[in-house]
């Protein structure tokens, strides 16, 4: 698959599992989108651990623009207060519409688990056809212990009551993937 096909396939498969894929030109645009959709949904606070330096400054600006509080740590104490968790994703898998999120940081995990909406920024250059094409990278990541690695395909779901598919069982109710065109 060439880059274009990968992108299309990824988009199709991610949407098939109820993720929303939005292409963005740069990080600033991704931040603006994340802040915007948080505000539109009535969220007051955005949790974004793991961003630093200029990126963090840009994110701060985006949040201010929408009147949102930005938090980057102490998430456990703020459970229920942050609406959105904003993280990076390392890789994307076209076959299944999966994002791979290196989640060893506890704060980052909390941001992806306790939020109502998870927004992940995925560099388009890091799309792969399937999990087997990522085997070596994944192997290296797992060997770097201790660690916590997550494959995420769409928002949390359950079919436990009469098999009726319902989103948002325990994790985020929505998953937004910002597909970043520039090199990461």
């Amino acid at each position: 698959m060439n880059q274009n096909e990968l992108r299309q396939e990824f988009g199709r498969k991610a949407e098939a599992v109820s993720a929303v894929v939005t292409p963005v030109a740069d990080l600033a645009q991704a931040f603006a989108q994340a802040a915007r959709l948080t505000a539109l949904q009535g969220g007051k606070c955005l949790a974004a651990p793991g961003w630093e330096g200029a990126d963090l400054a840009a994110l701060k600006a985006a949040c201010e623009q929408e009147g949102l509080e930005l938090i980057t740590q102490g998430l456990r104490e703020r459970t229920g207060e942050f609406h959105t968790g904003l993280t990076r994703a390392r890789w994307g898998v076209a076959e299944t519409g999966t994002i791979v999120v290196e989640s060893s940081s506890e704060e980052l995990r909390l941001a992806t688990m306790l939020s109502e909406v998870h927004v992940a920024v995925l560099p388009a250059a890091n799309l792969r056809a399937d999990l087997f094409s990522l085997e070596q990278e994944l192997d290296r990541t797992l060997a770097d212990a201790p660690g916590y690695l997550a494959f995420i395909s769409g928002p949390s779901r359950t079919g436990d009551i009469e098999l009726v598919l319902t989103l948002g069982a325990h994790g985020p109710r929505q998953l937004h993937i910002m597909l970043l065109e520039e090199g990461s």
């Binding site: 916590y148 494959f151 395909s153 009469e162 069982a169 325990h170």
Partner: protein, 713 residues
């Protein structure tokens, strides 16, 4: 099966069959599953991938102890503590001790069949600990004080109204059964609180990677992520068979597991934990304990026959496709582990007592086997496990008789002839017996039974044998009991179809029952003895084909090599004959062809015999022939679902046999067909008997008859 427990089990089955909601839910569940699974595997070579996973699992199972040591070294280097529990009690003790040492009082759990296996909750609660299941289905059944009724969808037996009622009690607020989203919301809110307060999280694992010491969980709800993240202590309870050498093996399994479980290409969350990860609630580092459970697994992994059972990925598919599960649900079709694999594992993990009622309850329809992503011969193992029971508990009279009669062909055939005389007054001159005296076979009223023929095929043969001076093909006909003694006319129809085509057909007089009934009764030695007799009688070396009109016989004759493997005298001959065995439809397509179409657009539905479509992998030949012969072929959803016959199954479990048959006949009737065609005399018996009992005008024809009639017109 002891009398009392057997009666109780049948009572429970009847109760389940009377539960209309359960029946509807299970039917919908199985119907949806079929479609989703098909979509999930679209474009993939399932058989090859399942064989690959089976082989990869076998390779791992051969080295469990090594893998365990390797895993332990890696995981402990990363800050975990790894335990090995010898049995259920030991595992419970280890976990209770961890709770005590860490001062944990509130425990949250994500779904783990292994913890169900050792009845962990009960034990922890007895120690005064508060245990909360966080998987929605598990939480529901925990609140109801029940066990899971399915390995993937534990509360599948409950309706939305029952859940709403339960949640109304739990919250003290009226819940609307039609608003499933808000029912899920109740769980989300309640369980979020429990998770934030918990001291300890207990999870299971789908894989344990020896190469890195990582454990992985595969879930949709995301509760396992919270369970492994929020509390300060994490205990993972893992069956030893979940050990795999490396990521590659895990990815191969992961490619099949979700597709097989629900038809999803992948589950929402696949989470890998390696060692003691960051945890602010525990001074920066999580306390991680990984408890491996042996409970018989190591011994089982060394068994040449039964180690296969440990390949199981717990996808639940063998329940999803099982016609019996579809009628009675998991509480009656398993103990803790459910479905075909449950019948087997119950014996090994929970003992013969728990398993004995279940092990006879299998139609041998093969649906589970061909759908298993780990390539496990489930019906074969079920019969072998039942054989272990027989060896332990002694053979019931039924089995002793079977052994005596089947291995003595003249005696067997004498008894069949006598049956003709015995039944004559009951048939009142007809071809079907409508009412059996109850003492003869109880609960058989759901279908009429056929009459044993006045003149069996073997007696007619001198008259019938085609005279072909210079044959271009030589065919040995294997009759089987039903064709020979009940439906010789089906063989006559076959002879009509190949008339004038230069095909010589012989009928060896010393052939007997194929031996499938013995194999079904777990009488392997008897099955072997009968196989040897047939091999000697058929003299397959002299023929191009061994043809049988009975799909069950065909697939069983093909099993002879497996049955006689290692036998210095017979193994070779068995291979030789098995290679020549062919079913009617494939034979006609390959060697004989049909006369130009003559049937008059008569509407025909088809029933695919289990042993033809799954046993021999012949799916389309018969339908193609019907169309070619001019029939207006009418498909329906359950065409390849078992008719409920299963040989003596229908005598042992008449209530289920009837229920499974009824579902099929309803679908057939809805096609508007006036003829129902199949290619196995056993299925003819069941279908014809059921239709006659209902007073339906639909006629049942063996494929040979249907084609012959088309030709005659």
């Amino acid at each position: 099966m002891s009398r009392a427990s057997g009666r109780e089990y049948h009572q429970r089955l009847k109760g389940a069959l009377d539960n209309t909601f359960l029946g509807q839910t299970l039917a919908r569940f199985q119907g949806n599953y079929r479609g989703s699974r098909q979509a999930g595997f679209a474009g993939m070579d399932f058989e090859a991938l399942a064989a690959e996973v089976g082989a990869a699992k076998d390779a791992a199972l051969g080295h469990l102890e090594e893998l365990y040591q390797q895993f332990k070294a890696k995981a402990e280097a990363a800050g975990a503590t790894v335990h090995l529990a010898h049995d259920a009690a030991h595992a419970r003790e280890i976990i209770a001790k961890i709770a005590a040492q860490t001062g944990s009082r509130r425990i949250i759990k994500s779904k783990s069949m292994t913890s169900e296996e050792i009845h962990l909750n009960r034990h922890l609660e007895a120690q005064g600990l508060k245990v909360t299941e966080t998987d929605l289905g598990e939480w529901i059944i925990q609140l109801r004080g029940e066990g899971p009724s399915h390995m993937v969808a534990p509360a599948i037996h409950l309706s939305r109204s029952e859940v709403a009622e339960l949640f109304t009690q739990v919250t003290g607020e009226k819940q609307d059964p039609e608003d499933i989203a808000s029912l899920v919301e109740v769980a989300r809110q309640r369980l979020r609180r429990a998770m934030l307060e918990a001291d300890m999280g207990i999870s299971g694992a789908n894989f344990a990677l020896a190469s890195t010491g990582s454990i992985a969980t595969v879930t949709n709800e995301g509760n396992a992520r919270l369970v492994t993240t929020l509390p300060r202590v994490h205990v993972a309870l893992v069956g030893l068979e979940k050990l795999v050498p490396d990521l590659n093996t895990a990815l191969k399994i992961l490619r099949l597991l979700p597709r097989s479980a629900t038809g999803q290409l992948i589950s929402t969350y696949v989470t890998w934990v390696t060692g003691a990860v960051e945890c602010a609630a525990n001074r920066g580092k999580k306390e991680l304990h990984i408890v491996f459970l042996d409970n018989g697994r190591l011994a089982l992994s060394q068994d040449p026959v039964f180690s296969q059972a440990l390949r199981c990925l717990r996808c639940g598919s063998c329940a999803n496709v099982c016609p019996i599960f579809g009628k009675v649900g998991g509480h009656n079709y398993g103990h803790v582990y459910i479905g075909a694999i449950g019948l087997i594992l119950t014996y090994f993990y929970h003992g013969p007592e728990a398993a004995q009622e279940l092990l006879g309850n299998c139609l041998n329809c093969q649906a589970c086997k061909v759908n298993c992503p780990a390539n496990i011969d489930l019906p074969g193992l079920i019969k072998k496990t039942a054989g272990l029971l027989l060896a332990e508990q002694g053979r019931p009279i039924k089995n002793q008789l079977l052994r005596r009669v089947l291995t003595n062909r003249p005696l067997f055939h004498f008894l069949l002839r006598r049956a003709y005389l015995a039944q004559k007054p009951l048939a009142r001159g007809g071809r079907l017996i409508r009412h059996l005296p109850l003492f003869f076979a109880p609960d058989q009223e759901f279908r009429s039974l056929p009459v044993v023929a006045a003149e069996p095929l073997r007696d007619r043969w001198r008259r019938l044998a085609p005279k072909v001076p210079k044959p271009r093909l030589r065919v040995a006909l294997f009759g089987g009991c039903l064709i020979d003694f009940v439906y010789p006319e089906q063989a006559e129809a076959f002879l009509g179809l190949i008339k004038g085509k230069g095909i010589q057909v012989d009928y060896a007089r010393d052939q007997s029952c194929c031996g499938l009934p013995a194999a079904m009764a777990s009488e392997e030695e008897t099955a072997r003895e009968v196989a040897r007799q047939n091999l000697a009688a058929m003299e397959a070396e002299w023929y191009d084909y061994v043809l049988t009109l009975c799909a069950s016989c065909a697939s069983h004759l093909k099993k002879y090599p497996e049955l006689l493997a290692g036998d210095p005298v017979w193994a070779g001959r068995a291979e030789h004959m098995a290679a020549k065995v062919i079913d009617l439809a494939s034979f006609l397509q390959k060697e004989a062809g049909l006369e130009p179409a003559a049937a008059q657009g008569k509407a025909a539905a088809y029933h695919a015999p289990c042993h033809l479509c799954r046993g021999l992998g012949v799916h389309d030949a018969s339908k193609e022939l019907l169309r070619e012969a001019g029939y207006d072929y009418r498909p329906y959803d359950d065409e390849e679902v078992c008719c409920g016959f299963g040989g003596s199954y229908s005598l042992d479990f008449p209530e289920l046999s009837a229920a499974i048959l009824e579902r099929k006949l309803r679908q057939v009737a809805a096609t508007g067909a006036d003829t129902l065609v199949t290619d196995c005399p056993g299925c003819v018996l069941q279908l014809e008997g059921g239709l006659d009992h209902l007073g339906s005008p639909i006629r049942v024809r063996h494929l040979a008859q249907a084609l012959a009639e088309a030709k005659d017109k």
